[in-house]
C-alpha cells in the first residue's frame, strides 16, 4: 500500500509535486484598536513584499507556487511553465478576477491547489465552482490543508478531483466518503443537471 495521503479521482496516488511556502508569512495576530483580530483566519492579509522576495524557488522539479510568488516571477518561469512544472497555490480569499486579466488562459497550469486553512472555510467550494465554470479550468484541481473526509463529497461536487487528506487522517476511509450520496438533488460542477432533469420523477 502506498504511504500517501493524496487522492486523485478515486485512487490514492504518490505526490509528484512539491509545495513552495512563503517564508514565515504566518504572523498570526495583529492588534487593531486594542482588540486582537485574527487576520489569518479571514485570510485578508496579503503576503508582504519581503516574504515574496525571500521565497526560495527550487530550480528543478514540479512545484506549487503561491499566487503572489508566481506573479512576481512570471517572466522567469515561462519555460518551466511550458514543461508543465509550475502549479498554482491559491488561498481561499484569493479571487481570480484580476489574475485572469494577466493570465488569460489558466489551463497553462497542469494543477491548481487551493489551500483551506480551516475546514469550516466554505469559500473553497465557491472557488472550485468558479475555477471550473467561469474560468474553464480543465486540469487537476486539488484541495489541501485541513482537508477531511466529511467535506470530500462537497469538494467533489464543487469541481475538485484531487484531495490531499490531512496528515493523521485515514485516507482509505476518506475515499469512501466520495460516494456518500448516489443521486444528489441539485445541479453542481460534477453533475450539471438537477435530479429532476436526469431522472423521471413521480
Amino acid at each position: 500500500m502506498l504511504d500517501s495521503q493524496l487522492i486523485l479521482n478515486q485512487s490514492i496516488i504518490d505526490d509528484e509535486w512539491t509545495f513552495v511556502a512563503l517564508p514565515n508569512g504566518n504572523e498570526e495576530v495583529k492588534k487593531q484598536a486594542g482588540k486582537v483580530v485574527l487576520f489569518k483566519l479571514t485570510g485578508e492579509s496579503p503576503p508582504s513584499e519581503l516574504q515574496i522576495n525571500e521565497t526560495v524557488i527550487p530550480q528543478n522539479g514540479k512545484i506549487i507556487l503561491p499566487l503572489s510568488v508566481y506573479l512576481k516571477n512570471r517572466e522567469a518561469l515561462q519555460s518551466r511553465l511550458k514543461n508543465n512544472e509550475i502549479a498554482l497555490w491559491l488561498a481561499t480569499h484569493e479571487t481570480l478576477d484580476e489574475f485572469i486579466i494577466i493570465e488569460k488562459n489558466i489551463n497553462v497550469f497542469p494543477l491548481i491547489a487551493v489551500f483551506v486553512e480551516r475546514f469550516q472555510d466554505g469559500r473553497i467550494f465557491s472557488l472550485g465552482n468558479l475555477l471550473r465554470t467561469r474560468y474553464q479550468f480543465k486540469n487537476t484541481l486539488r484541495a489541501f490543508g485541513d482537508v477531511l473526509q466529511d467535506q470530500l463529497f462537497y469538494l467533489k461536487r464543487s469541481g475538485f478531483d484531487s484531495y490531499l487528506i490531512k496528515t493523521g487522517k485515514d485516507v482509505h476511509e476518506a475515499l469512501k466518503a466520495l460516494q456518500s450520496f448516489s443521486d444528489p438533488y441539485q445541479g453542481a460542477v460534477d453533475i450539471k443537471e438537477p435530479v429532476w432533469k436526469r431522472k423521471v420523477r413521480s
Binding site: 469550516q120 450520496f181 431522472k199
Partner: protein, 549 residues
C-alpha cells in the same frame, strides 16, 4: 402534501448511514470535537446544558398525522415524552442521547423526515405561512416553491459551510405571516402585470444580536430563476461574508457594510453568469411538485352551520375559544383551527407525546390527516368543517389544547432559555408562565385584545423578542438574571423592531411591568385600537413614565 419518491428516500437513508458513521468515528476518537461539531449541527444536534438537543426539520411547517405519531413515539422511546415546537416550525427534543441519535434519525426516515440542516452554517429549514393553501388572502400557494427550495438546498455543495446560518422564508399572501423581512432571504410571491408569477426578493434581514429588517434587492424576479438568483446572493455572501467574527458573520452585516446598492450590483453581476444555468426551474417541474399541494377534496357546503351557531350562542367558553382559534378559510363551510400550545403555566410550545397523538387523531378525523406548525409555536388543523368544530374543541379542551388565547397576551413566543440552553443569559420559561398566571382572567385577556409578547433568554433572539409588541430579553448583570423590555416591535408587512423602554427588571417584577404597560394602553386606547397601534400612536414615553414611576 409532498411525498417522497425513491430519490428523496435514498438521500435521507444515505444521510442516516453517513451520520451513523460520523457518530461512531466521533465516539471512537477518530473525529475531534471541533471536527464533529459542524457535522452534528448540520444534523440538528446541539450539546446543551443538561443533554444534547435534537432539532427535527418540519419543512415549511407541514406534517402528516403519521409523522406526528412518529414524533410522539420517538419522544417516548428516546426522550422524556415531550417535544418543543420552535419559532422556526421545527421540533426539538431536549433529552436524546448522543449515541442514539442515529437511531432516531433512522426512525424519522421511515416517515419521510430528517434533521438535515436544522442547524449549522448552511441553508436551514424553509419556513412559510401556517395557513398556506387555505388562507383567503392568499395570492399564490408558496409550498411548491418551498419544496423545490428544500430539495435544492439539501446538501447544496457550494453552500455547505457558509460564514453563518442562512434562513429563507417564503410568503404568498397579502398579509405576510412568514416574517419575510426578518430572514436572510425573504421571497414574496405575487402576480405581475402579465399575470405571471413573480417574486419580490428581500435580503439581509435577521434578528439576533443585531436586529435588521431586510431590504428589497429585486422587485420583480421571474419564478423560474428563483434558485439561480438565490445562488448568486449566497455566492456573494459565501465569498465575502465575514468569517473572523461570528457576531458579524450573517449576511445582514455584509449587506449593511456594502450598502444594498453595491450588494445588489455584485449579486446581479454574479447572476449574469448563473441565469439560465441548469438549476433554472421549468413549468413541468413546478407542476410536478405543485400537484402535491392541490386543494383537499372539499365537500360543497354552506358557509354557515346551525349547530355551530347554536353552540356559540349557548356556550360562552366555546364562543370565546372560537373567537381566537378559528380562522377564515378560502373554501365555504371550512375553517382553520389553531390548537394552543400555550396553556397558562406551562412551557410555551411544548407538547407531550399524549397530546401529539391526540392531535394526530384529530387531524385524521377532521382535517384530511394533515396539520401545520406555526412560528408562534402552535399547531393548526387547516381544513376543518364548521360542523366539526365543536367536537374538536371538546377533545382539545380535555387535553389542554384549547386555551382561548391565540393572538392574545398569553400566546407567548418563548425560547427554551436558561432552563435548557447553554447560551442563555437568563431563564425565559418561568417569565412566560408567571406572566400567563398574572393574566389568567380570560375576560380581561380578551378585553386587552391582540397582543404579541415574545421572550428570548439572550440576544440570539430565538424567541423573536425584537418583533414582539412587547419584547422581553434576558440579560446578564454581574452574574444575575435581568430582563430588558421593548415595545413597538411587530411582524408582518409593516414589520418594526421594538424600542427599549429603559433599565432592566428582576424576574419577579416582570408580571407587574407587563400589567403597567397594559394599564397605559387601556387608559389611552381608542375604540378597536390594538396595543401595538396605541404604542405607535403615542410613542414609548407614556408607557415608560408609568412603568418607572
Amino acid at each position: 402534501m409532498y411525498q417522497y419518491d425513491n430519490i428523496d428516500q435514498t438521500i435521507v437513508n444515505e444521510r442516516v448511514a453517513q451520520f451513523r458513521d460520523q457518530t461512531l468515528r466521533y465516539l471512537s476518537g477518530k473525529l475531534t470535537d471541533d471536527e464533529f461539531r459542524p457535522l452534528r449541527l448540520q444534523n440538528g444536534l446541539y450539546i446543551q446544558r443538561h443533554a444534547p438537543m435534537l432539532r427535527v426539520a418540519i419543512p415549511y411547517g407541514l406534517l402528516s398525522s403519521k409523522q406526528l405519531r412518529k414524533l410522539a413515539d420517538i419522544s417516548d422511546r428516546f426522550d422524556r415524552g415531550y417535544g418543543h415546537f420552535s419559532t422556526r416550525q421545527n421540533l426539538q427534543l431536549n433529552w436524546p442521547k448522543l449515541e442514539e441519535t442515529p437511531d432516531i434519525l433512522e426512525e424519522l426516515s421511515k416517515v419521510e423526515m430528517h434533521a438535515i440542516q436544522t442547524s449549522g452554517n448552511c441553508i436551514r429549514n424553509i419556513t412559510t405561512d401556517q395557513f398556506a393553501g387555505v388562507a383567503p388572502d392568499e395570492i399564490i400557494d408558496p409550498r411548491a416553491i418551498a419544496e423545490i427550495l428544500r430539495q435544492w438546498s439539501t446538501f447544496h455543495p457550494e453552500f455547505s459551510l457558509l460564514p453563518r446560518k442562512f434562513k429563507i422564508a417564503v410568503s404568498g399572501s397579502k398579509q405576510d405571516r412568514a416574517i419575510v423581512q426578518a430572514h436572510d432571504i425573504g421571497l414574496e410571491f405575487y402576480y405581475d402585470k402579465e399575470k405571471k408569477m413573480a417574486i419580490r426578493v428581500w435580503v439581509g434581514g435577521g434578528l439576533g444580536r443585531t436586529p435588521i429588517l431586510g431590504s428589497i434587492i429585486r422587485e420583480h424576479l421571474e419564478w423560474e430563476h428563483v434558485l439561480t438568483y438565490c445562488e448568486a446572493i449566497i455566492r456573494v455572501y459565501n465569498l465575502h461574508g465575514r468569517r473572523d467574527n461570528i457576531y458579524k458573520a450573517r449576511i445582514k452585516i455584509l449587506v449593511k457594510a456594502l450598502g444594498i446598492e453595491e450588494f445588489k450590483k455584485q449579486v446581479e453581476a454574479e447572476w449574469s453568469h448563473l441565469k439560465n444555468s441548469p438549476n433554472t426551474i421549468n413549468e413541468n417541474e413546478l407542476k410536478r411538485v405543485a400537484k402535491f399541494f392541490t386543494s383537499m377534496p372539499y365537500e360543497k357546503l354552506n358557509d354557515q352551520d346551525d349547530a355551530f351557531d347554536q353552540a356559540i350562542q349557548n356556550n360562552k367558553a366555546f364562543a370565546s375559544w372560537v373567537k381566537r382559534s378559528v380562522h377564515p378559510h378560502k373554501q365555504k363551510g371550512y375553517r382553520a383551527i389553531t390548537l394552543s400550545l400555550k396553556p397558562h403555566g406551562l412551557a410555551p410550545g411544548d407538547a407531550t407525546s399524549a397530546q401529539m397523538k391526540i392531535v394526530a387523531d384529530l387531524a385524521d378525523l377532521y382535517s384530511f390527516g394533515e396539520l401545520r406548525v406555526s412560528h408562534e409555536q402552535n399547531l393548526i388543523l387547516a381544513d376543518v368543517k364548521l360542523k366539526d368544530i365543536f367536537n374538536i374543541w371538546e377533545k382539545a379542551k380535555a387535553h389542554q389544547l384549547a386555551t382561548p388565547n391565540i393572538g392574545l397576551l398569553t400566546d407567548i413566543i418563548c425560547c427554551p432559555g436558561g432552563d435548557f440552553c447553554s447560551l442563555a443569559n437568563a431563564k425565559s420559561i418561568p417569565i412566560a408562565t408567571s406572566i400567563q398566571e398574572a393574566f389568567d382572567d380570560l375576560d380581561y385577556l380578551h378585553d386587552i385584545g391582540e397582543l404579541e409578547l415574545n421572550i428570548s433568554g439572550c440576544m440570539n433572539a430565538c424567541g423573536h423578542h425584537h418583533i414582539g409588541h412587547i419584547g422581553v430579553l434576558g440579560v446578564d448583570k454581574d452574574g444575575s438574571e435581568w430582563y430588558q423590555v421593548t415595545i413597538g416591535g411587530k411582524q408582518g408587512n409593516d414589520a418594526s423592531i421594538g424600542t427599549v423602554i429603559g433599565p432592566s427588571f428582576a424576574a419577579e417584577e416582570m408580571p407587574g411591568v407587563v400589567k403597567k404597560l397594559i394599564d397605559v394602553y387601556i387608559k389611552h386606547r381608542n375604540p378597536e385600537e390594538r396595543f401595538i397601534d396605541t404604542v405607535r400612536r403615542l410613542g414609548v414615553n407614556p408607557f415608560k413614565e408609568h412603568v418607572y414611576a
